[in-house]
């Protein structure tokens, strides 16, 4: 199969039909909104259809595939010519399907999935004979045989089961009540106001209050407030139903997560598919010493996107994470020792905070001279957040593991293993360069997309040392 082959002509038909389907709306628009004589729109419509036909056939003519030197080689493209060579080792799965068009001619559609990123990860042979499909499958399975035998061996090993985590009722309530940011704010405000109930002389205020209520202002704001509380309650109940009975079991080399009260869900994650570990602390949970732990896993396809970002420990005391991870995920070592961003980075963190908050505040002040004063509170909050962002920035390397910590609103710590990291980038802007600072960005795989960590404004030498740690070239890693 080393000579280039074309797809069956049905592929061209399928292309044309698909393009026609996609362009049906523009064509309809031309037909409907054209002038009454109708000649011009007829020509335009026919022209478009002819164009679609010709380009469909030309695209089909250009599309060739062949198997050569252990690679599936596809060349295509009418205007932009593309060559895609997929080594067999990289092919994750071959899916065959028969559509209405393929069936009468005994053809199949073959979808080749690689572990790549996004839509580009797939190559599709729209119409090939069953024979050819079989040939390709055989060639592929021969080159993969070694791997399969290995997998089967693991399968037969004895499996031991161990419960890693089980949510307690208290934790469930805590998780649910601190999950939505808005809810937290509202309940905080409510709690704050209730403190004043003793101080404010209600009886005395009551007369004036009734005037207010009849005026409707108070009523509306009360309704809005109740609405918020109701929304929060609904979110809370939903969350309780979703995360009730949250249990993580480790069975052999797999993690099995079950959760849910009404609708039970189970998720199985093979340990070897875990790409990264992420610890998340939102401000409220951080204040009471709790965190959530997520794992990023390599989902096979877009279909089960759900399984790529998995909540492993929904809510847990910070100091108990280590013990859980060390029994469950032996590959990861937790740490609290971080190299922080240098002092001179604080200025840049503050500046970035002010850079957008001050203009916003200025506009608000200009528009609402009195109420706009509240925007100063906003600037203050951003300043505090900027400081905590600076405090959160840090990194550390433990053998084959890179740990990056940063904060947007929640504090996030990402654990990346060297052999799971897909690429590392260091970034320097002009001003960073002047201050000898740099940004580090590490990417790992998550589902069929990317995840990772970024830390802004670290010491440039630190960033270089991370870069060096990641480099596989011996003279660099010295």
């Amino acid at each position: 199969m080393s000579e280039p082959r074309r797809l069956h002509f049905i592929a061209a038909v399928s292309n044309v039909l698909k393009t026609l389907k996609d362009s049906i709306i523009p064509i309809l628009i031309i037909v409907v909104f054209g002038n009454s004589e109708g000649k011009i729109q007829l020509f335009i419509t026919l022209g478009i259809i002819a164009l679609i036909l010709v380009s469909g056939i030309l695209t089909w003519l250009r599309f060739t595939y062949r198997i050569e030197e252990g690679e599936l080689r596809i060349e295509s493209g009418l205007i932009i010519r593309k060559k895609r060579y997929i080594p067999f080792e990289r092919i994750q799965s071959l899916d065959l399907s028969e559509g209405i068009l393929q069936r009468p001619f005994g053809l199949v559609k073959m979808t080749i999935e690689t572990a790549g990123s996004g839509i580009e990860a797939e190559a599709i042979l729209t119409a090939i004979s069953k024979n050819e499909a079989q040939q390709i499958q055989e060639i592929l399975s021969q080159s993969k045989k070694a791997h399969i035998e290995l997998d089967e061996q693991i399968e037969t090993e004895q499996k031991e089961e161990q419960i890693l985590y089980q949510i307690k009722p208290g934790e469930l309530i805590l998780l649910s009540s601190t999950s939505g940011g808005v809810g937290v704010v509202i309940s905080a405000v409510f709690a704050f106001l209730s403190q004043f109930s003793e101080v404010i002389p209600y009886e005395k205020v009551f007369d004036e209050l009734s005037v207010f209520i009849t005026g409707g202002v108070m009523l509306i704001s009360l309704m809005v407030f109740l609405g918020f509380v109701l929304a929060w309650l609904i979110a809370l109940i939903g969350s309780v139903l979703k995360y009730a009975n949250f249990t993580v079991r480790k069975v052999g080399d797999e993690l099995i997560i079950t959760r849910g009260l009404l609708e039970k869900k189970q998720l199985t994650i093979p340990l070897h598919r875990i790409q990264a570990l992420r610890i998340n602390e939102n401000p409220v949970r951080q204040a009471i010493g709790y965190a959530s732990v997520y794992i990023e896993s390599a989902g096979g396809s877009l279909k089960d996107a759900d399984s790529s970002k998995v909540m492993l420990l929904p809510i847990i005391k910070r100091n108990r994470i280590r013990e859980k991870i060390e029994t469950g995920l032996k590959d990861y070592q937790l740490t609290d020792m971080f190299v922080p961003a240098p002092k001179r980075a604080l200025r840049r963190y503050i500046f970035r905070g002010l850079f957008f908050s001050i203009p916003v505040a200025a506009i608000l002040l200009y528009l609402f001279p009195v109420w706009g004063l509240f925007s100063l509170v906003f600037v203050g909050l951003i300043l505090i957040l900027s400081y905590y962002r600076y405090k959160a920035a840090g990194w550390t390397i433990l053998e084959n593991q890179l740990v990056l910590r940063s904060r947007f609103i929640s504090k996030t710590t990402v654990y990346l293993r060297k052999n799971r990291t897909q690429s590392i980038t260091m970034k320097e802007t002009y001003f960073q360069k002047k201050n000898q600072l740099a940004t580090i960005s590490a990417k790992a795989m998550s589902g069929s997309g990317a995840t990772g960590g970024d830390v802004v404004d670290l010491e440039v030498d630190d960033v270089l040392s991370i870069y060096k740690w990641y480099s596989y070239t011996p003279e660099n890693s010295d």
Binding site: K83, Y85, P87, A115, G116, E428, K468
Partner: protein
């Protein structure tokens, strides 16, 4: 100390970027012409013409001259036995390291302008990211794709 990537992309790439910069400048050109015509039709003030022309000139100068030149000067790449290193960026200089064992597949593609100048763009995909080396000499691009896909295959698949 870490060695920086050394190889530059083709000088013809600079020409291609200038051409595409010129094509991009057509948009502010048309807008500027439109502004001038409207100014005459509706008797707007004359300084509008000046502003329109200045904006167009500035855009064209940046898009045709400054950005392609800086971009070309910054672009460095190096394909080593174990990894690919890229360095690029006009305002933010990005240096990226992609280990060979993480490479999933390598593609080349070329648009009409690139084809006329016998250039091609190489994209290197990992399981999570896509990296591009633009405007390489066609033969170099083919060689590179061949080289990378060969090296990448040696690696163990542990994704």
């Amino acid at each position: 100390m870490l060695s920086k990537p050394q190889k530059r992309i083709s000088k013809r790439g600079l020409t291609v970027w200038k051409i595409s910069g010129a094509l991009h400048s057509l948009i502010p050109f048309v807008l500027a012409i439109g502004a001038i015509v409207l100014t005459f039709i509706f008797d707007w003030q004359m300084w509008i013409i000046g502003v329109a022309l200045i904006i167009f000139a500035l855009y064209a100068y940046l898009a045709i001259k400054v950005f392609p030149t800086v971009r070309w000067k910054r672009w460095r790449y190096e394909v080593r036995e174990n990894e690919i290193e890229l360095q690029h960026g006009i305002f933010i200089i990005k240096r990226t390291l992609v280990p060979m064992i993480r490479v999933q597949h390598v593609d080349t593609h070329q648009g009409p302008i690139l084809r006329k100048y016998k250039l091609a763009t190489v994209t290197v995909s990992t399981a999570a990211t896509v990296h591009e080396i633009p405007a390489l000499d066609l033969e170099e691009a083919e060689e590179l794709r061949f080289f990378i896909s060969n090296l990448a295959r040696v690696a163990v698949d542990d994704v």
